[in-house]
Symmetry: C2
Subunit: 113 residues, 2 copies
């Protein structure tokens, strides 16, 4: 599944990432109008990513931005081994209603089943 891979940059979150730091990064990008793609491998990392997204909602809500996320699977290569990563696309909820929604159909790419 090499579609657009070269064009995409992921915010990589590990089990040791600080959720509030990641939340700050998410909020900053969203404020700048940039949708955020997060990648995490393993339950601990997924948990930190989800916490970061929840915290960033609190950063963005007061300025009227409500974000939503779409999780998907991706097979990635880590040191020669294939692992299943969870990716989260984070974007403003109202994106779909505006002219910026061009990438929306990508969101399903990488979903299992």
């Amino acid at each position: 599944m090499p579609q657009k891979e070269a064009l995409m940059e992921f915010l990589k979150v590990s089990s040791k990432s600080s959720p509030s730091s990641v939340a700050g990064a998410i909020a900053g990008m969203i404020k700048d109008g940039v949708p955020v793609d997060i990648q995490s491998v393993g339950a601990g990392a997924v948990n930190q990513a989800v916490k970061a997204i929840a915290i960033s909602r609190g950063f963005l809500a007061p300025i009227g931005i409500e974000i939503v996320c779409s999780p998907s699977f991706a097979d990635i290569d880590i040191k020669g081994e294939t692992r299943t990563a969870i990716r989260f696309r984070v974007e403003p909820r109202y994106l779909r209603g505006t002219a910026v929604s061009s990438q929306s159909s990508d969101a399903f790419v990488g979903s299992k089943n």
Copy 2:
């Protein structure tokens, strides 16, 4: 934070829940027009919940429904101890643009910060 608690039912996901079973439940409720509230406590449980949401996207995409989720925190009582749960509200992305969007403002309830 007892707001609407009495009215809300959560799909409780544990670290032992089967993601595909939970995904089936999510897809069924969404097809019926019911937004889904998931509650999970602990990294393993959050991971299973996220996998379930990702899988359910694959169930719903072929019938033209794209879902998004909004994670939030909630302090809950488990056997007399206070634990922080992660809750996910799962709903169709286009909900906001329709007349059914009355519950949207609830989504922030329980967010930390």
